[in-house]
Symmetry: C2
DNA sequence: CATAACGCTTACGTTAACGTCAAGTAACAA
DNA sequence: TTGTTACTTGACGTTAACGTAAGCGTTATG
């Protein structure tokens, strides 16, 4: 048993580490996403709880609702289910994968546009000796900006 | 002037095309994201309005709030602003780019996990002649599943 | 020993993004 | 004329994900 496996955290330690509030952690417990041990009535978070929290927050970042995250975190019910039950989960997973891939495309497009926008602003702001490369990116942005509202 | 430039849409045509409700479109107008023309008191959407709607929905998919989208759609106020104003926008853009890149990483991780999960379920479900590749992906998922709750 | 500092529960408040009526108008069909 | 359909403007309801505040117990510190 390595040291990290036996280490525990208080609610505010975890809250600070992951930049969330203690209220949020209690809320996640309320909703069944976390299940920290208790010492008296004080919550004691294990390394496992901490790992679950990491997954919860990542899930949130990619657009899962807390309810969806709760279901997915419950590996037991997935692995122990009947073959039919398994089929339901596979459908859900596949559908979600498609959504995520679309999201990734959207994000890549958005990044491109924002970067072109930055380049354009840099060119504007400098207005002194704009490099050829900057001017080219700026032209790209202007083209994008026009294209955005046409077709 | 191509034909598509003069074509117009009713609120329910657009709503159906983009799988949103008419209520949502009115809401977007209320919030200043859309500005369709009127024929009498009936809304008439142009190709430009339609393009804006496409941008709005993509913005939503990548996590922008309607208020943020409204600001970004207002190119005028960005391009016409003072150099200082421009600086503010550049900061916002850059910050948002970082968020988007993190989001992309999260999404890629999530896709991997979900795909591994699918492979694992397939192997379980078949239980007959599981191919070497499937078995390998299944093992990968089991490793992932364990790793998820450790460390 | 008092007064922070930290934790707990209970409960009501808040915001975004619409949903869901209600009540009315304008266009067209039978 | 009378439906029927599509559109309009309010106005209030809803859900998720917490925020915020009240009130109370426990531990550490000057």
């Amino acid at each position: 048993m390595p040291h990290s496996a036996s280490r525990t955290w208080t609610i505010s330690e975890l809250a600070e580490e992951f930049s969330v509030t203690a209220r949020a952690l209690r809320f996640y417990e309320d909703k069944g996403l976390l299940n920290p041990a208790r010492h008296g009535q004080t919550r004691v978070f294990s390394a496992t709880d901490r790992a679950r929290l990491r997954l919860i927050l990542r899930g949130k970042r990619v657009g899962f609702s807390l309810e969806e995250i709760r279901e997915m975190l419950d590996l037991e019910s997935i692995t122990k289910g009947s073959p039919q039950h398994l089929g339901v989960w596979m459908k859900r997973f596949r559908a979600r994968i498609e959504v995520l891939k679309q999201q990734r495309r959207d994000i890549e497009d958005a990044i491109e546009e924002l970067e072109a926008g930055c380049a354009w602003m840099e060119a504007r702001q400098a207005d002194l000796e704009p490099s050829e490369e900057l001017k080219s990116r700026a032209r790209a942005f202007e083209a994008l900006a026009r294209a955005r509202l046409e077709h």
